[in-house]
């Protein structure tokens, strides 16, 4: 099944003279059209003092541009039955709008208007400051967010992966509208953007429409490459947090390779073997559906044995070296020492003996079958095409897929040995104070 790559829909790609890359994926029978704009701008392009700027700009791009006053973007899309949203990551920011196919012109008009000409007024920046603050507060209510933020803060000393895309509290309080406008002006432009359109449309007419709307935009967007290089870790780093919550929780991270590293397919297999998630190759959607994975190693070693109520791993491709993480929530009465020791035993065993042939076969089959339906629907197609394009290229999806099918168990074991080193480990533990609230 799919011996040569992922079964993607046919696409047509081209670039405009101003540097904007365009990917069209028409599907005659689709009742919808999904428009995605991916910027290679994310929290990696921020600096201390303006952390969270990418996310803040994401909010501001809904607050007004020359042809759309405040609230009019939402109104234009939702009033025709469409949906729209955006999200910010360390490496990119994505804006999407899915509409009934006959309304494709609506998102094209919006995106061409706000790509380089969002207004970002002082008044709207100030009003949005409390909204962003509130978004961060909502996340802070969850111990998992606090732990992950601490883990990356601890795991990186130089590289901008050390802060969360939401930004630091202090920066959200102090960043000025002028700083935000400057950030937008520098990085958001045609050279750093990819426009993906998937769904029901005529490709020739739509290509002409895209040229008409986007060609007049000036070539803009400074380099988004990150020059800071994180030094190799020379010892374990640890942190203990405490606060409200229910059960003890921990995350362990190890320095992991960047996307371009040839070890990436083996790292993805490690993630699937340990946690069970097949990420962008999962059945159902790009990130899969939230599910338990009883056949995964961490689940069997921690949840089945009663040490944890939840245990999994997490690794996503990043443009620069990131963290491979394992997280677990202790079962009642189980100490974090015991949980940490059990996790150590699981990864040590994988590094020593490698995966079994049956495990490798299972994971590969899961991935092969999972991708078969991954392009169903215009929104999913727009997501996948843009996601791989913004990280590198659409061909990346095939490369990773083929790599996963090819990597021998021996290489996965070697990858585990290289990855799960004590001196490259970061540990954050969370002990809840336990109160359940007072009237």
């Amino acid at each position: 099944m799919q011996p040569h790559g992922v079964p993607r829909p046919p696409t047509r790609s081209f670039s405009l003279p101003n540097g904007l890359r365009v990917v069209l994926a028409p599907s005659r029978s689709s009742p919808t059209a999904s428009v995605w704009v991916w910027y290679r701008v994310g929290s990696k392009n921020e600096r201390p003092g303006i952390t969270g700027a990418s996310h803040w700009v994401e909010h501001m791009l809904f607050q007004g541009s020359p042809r759309y006053g405040k609230g009019e973007i939402d109104r234009a899309v939702v009033s025709v039955g469409g949906e729209l949203n955006a999200f910010t990551d360390a490496d990119f920011t994505a804006y999407f709008t899915t509409v009934p196919r006959e309304h494709l012109a609506v998102p094209l008009d919006i995106e061409s208007d706000r790509m380089t000409r969002a207004l970002i007024t002082d008044q709207e920046v100030e009003r949005e400051r409390t909204v962003i603050h509130s978004e961060r507060e909502g996340n802070e209510n969850w111990p998992e967010f606090r732990v992950e933020e601490e883990l990356f803060q601890l795991g990186f000393r130089v590289h901008p992966y050390r802060w969360d895309a939401l930004g630091r509290r202090r920066d959200i309080e102090q960043m000025s509208p002028a700083e935000l406008r400057e950030y937008y002006r520098r990085f958001y432009g045609t050279r750093n953007a990819i426009l993906v359109i998937a769904g029901g449309f005529d490709p020739r007419a739509t290509a002409a429409e895209v040229r008409r709307r986007f060609s007049p935009l000036p070539a803009s967007g400074e380099s988004v490459d990150v020059k800071d290089v994180e030094p190799e870790p020379r010892g374990e780093r640890r942190s203990e947090l405490s606060g409200p919550g229910t059960t003890p929780y921990l995350q362990i991270g190890w320095r992991s390779p960047a996307l371009a590293d040839p070890e990436t397919p083996a790292t993805m297999l490690l993630d699937a073997l340990l946690g069970g998630e097949t990420r962008m190759f999962a059945a159902g959607s790009v990130w899969g559906r939230s599910a338990e994975h009883p056949s995964a190693r961490l689940y069997r070693a921690l949840v089945d044995t009663g040490l944890a109520v939840h245990a999994t791993s997490d690794w996503r491709p990043r443009a620069y070296p990131g963290l491979f993480t394992v997280q677990a929530q202790a079962a009642r009465g189980v100490s974090l020492d015991r949980l940490e020791s059990a996790i150590g035993a699981v990864v040590a065993r994988l590094a020593r003996y490698g995966p079994t042939a049956a495990e490798m076969d299972d994971v590969r089959t899961k991935i092969r079958r999972g991708v078969a339906l991954s392009y169903e629907g215009a929104s999913r197609a727009g997501f996948r095409l843009g996601y791989f394009s913004v990280l590198r290229s659409m061909a990346l999806e095939d490369e990773l897929f083929r790599g996963i099918l090819r990597v021998p168990a021996r290489e996965v074991r070697e990858r585990a040995r290289a990855l799960f080193r004590d001196e490259a480990r970061v540990v954050v533990r969370y002990e809840p104070t336990g109160e359940a609230g007072r009237d």
């Binding site: 009742p31 039955g81 209510n141 056949s295 899961k366 109160e435 609230g437």
Partner: protein, 423 residues
């Protein structure tokens, strides 16, 4: 497109010992299939003193079934490129399988195993019990689930299924034994009052044949009847739960509402959409987030079910802002019945609701949800095709009248949960 190929219409098929078979065509070009069993197995049927039973059983049926233990069942699904999900509500419990359309028949066989032959292996029972106990703690300690819980408890009387979230407590879940779980499964994962909805590129006759073979073990049974204490009109109440150390306060305002079968439902649906159901255009979102900058989320929902319903307006905001947000939520709820909506505002909301229907037909997963909803509420086979007409028949006066009964703050509960003791 013929009716049989139109995913907006379903075909009601045979009743197999009381199990209603329903067929839906997948959207054009979709290559996946989905099937859902919904049975009268919600937590409204939890035996007294054994609260939490329905949730445990629902999670356990998807764990291990037939000749497959938990690991083997997971492998079987993975190797088919399929997923199995489960869901429990006050009224019902369901299991859904999704995967390649070419595999619809063997996957339907897995669903039948899950519904009819769960194993309840002792190790699985112990594991699920641990997970439910942890969720109980989380429900009490986290502002959002705690606020939801307390609002329902303030609105519905003791013994009412909608009052609970189905997790039970440490005592009731702690004493549940395997035999009680098996008994609940036998009595509630039945054919009577249950539906089997299949979204597949197969004719109704083929699906009926397959259902008869795979679910043939069902004996004819009658749907169990719930005990529903009356929901008396109460005066408005306010409750605050102090959860120190958290960052955000969750606010809920809610009360009892109409059942899905109520003739006022389309008007109540639009009233809720105006209030906060259509987040970007709705009044709550516009006033609290867009104009006030006071919260990241501000919305409302209307849960119109078989036995009744409830509405809830909600927002998450800072410890220094919640006192400003609560009256805004209340005022917007009151405005629905105090004033008649302008026709232009209603038109935008209504056309938005109608316009989004194609988005529900992007893929099998989304289309299937429409069919399950329709079948569960015994709605006409062409209900979704008629839905735009039903909404267009609703005028401003209808919305105001529906708000009087379906979204009425005079009998509502207000709950704030979070760091409310912090200034």
């Amino acid at each position: 497109m013929t009716d049989a190929n139109d995913p907006m219409r379903v075909e009601y098929g045979a009743e197999l010992a009381g199990l209603q078979v329903v067929r839906q065509s997948p959207p054009p070009a979709a290559a996946s299939f989905s099937a859902t069993y919904v049975g009268p197995a919600g937590w409204g049927f939890d035996p007294p003193g054994r609260e939490g039973t329905a949730r445990l059983v629902n999670q356990l049926i998807a764990s291990a079934a037939g000749k497959y233990d938990r690991v083997e069942l997971a492998r079987r699904l993975d190797r088919a490129g399929a997923t199995l999900s489960h869901q429990c509500s006050p009224e019902s419990a369901e299991a859904t399988i999704w995967g390649p359309a070419t595999e619809w028949l063997p996957l339907l066989g897995i669903l039948a195993d899950v519904v009819l032959r769960p194993r309840f292996d002792p190790a699985d029972v112990a594991r699920v019990r641990r997970q439910v106990l942890e969720r109980q703690l989380r429900e009490l300690a986290q502002p959002a689930p705690r606020a939801d819980r307390e609002m329902l408890r303030a609105v519905f009387p003791k013994g009412h299924p909608y009052r609970e979230t189905g997790l039970g407590d440490r005592r009731t879940v702690g004493r549940l034994g395997r035999s009680e779980l098996v008994r609940f499964h036998r009595e509630h994962y039945t054919s009577g009052g249950a539906i089997l909805v299949v979204t597949a590129p197969a004719r109704l006759a083929s699906i009926e044949r397959a259902a008869r073979r795979l679910f043939g073990r069902f004996e004819r049974s009658r749907a169990p009847q719930p005990t529903l204490p009356p929901v008396a009109a109460r005066s408005a109440t306010v409750r605050s739960i102090d959860l120190p150390g958290r960052s955000q306060v969750e606010v809920r305002v809610g009360g009892p509402s109409v059942a899905r079968s109520d003739p006022e439902y389309p008007a109540a649906f639009l009233a809720n959409e105006l209030l906060g159901g259509r987040p970007l255009l709705s009044r709550l979102f516009q006033r609290i987030r867009e104009r006030g900058g006071l919260a990241y989320h501000a919305s409302s929902e209307l849960e119109a079910m078989r036995w009744g319903g409830y509405w809830m307006a909600q927002a998450g905001t800072g410890a220094d802002r919640w006192r400003r947000v609560v009256p805004m939520l209340a005022d917007e709820v009151d405005r629905l019945r105090r004033t008649t909506v302008r026709p232009a505002e209603l038109r935008v909301i209504r056309e938005s609701a109608i316009g989004e229907i194609p988005l529900a037909l992007e893929s099998t997963i989304e289309a299937h949800d429409l069919a399950v909803d329709l079948a569960y509420h015994h709605l006409p086979a062409d209900y979704w095709a008629r839905w735009p007409g039903l909404l267009r028949a609703v005028g401003p006066a209808d919305v105001r009248r529906a708000a009087e009964t379906a979204i009425d703050r005079r009998t509502a509960a207000t709950v704030v949960a979070g760091p409310v003791g912090q200034r």
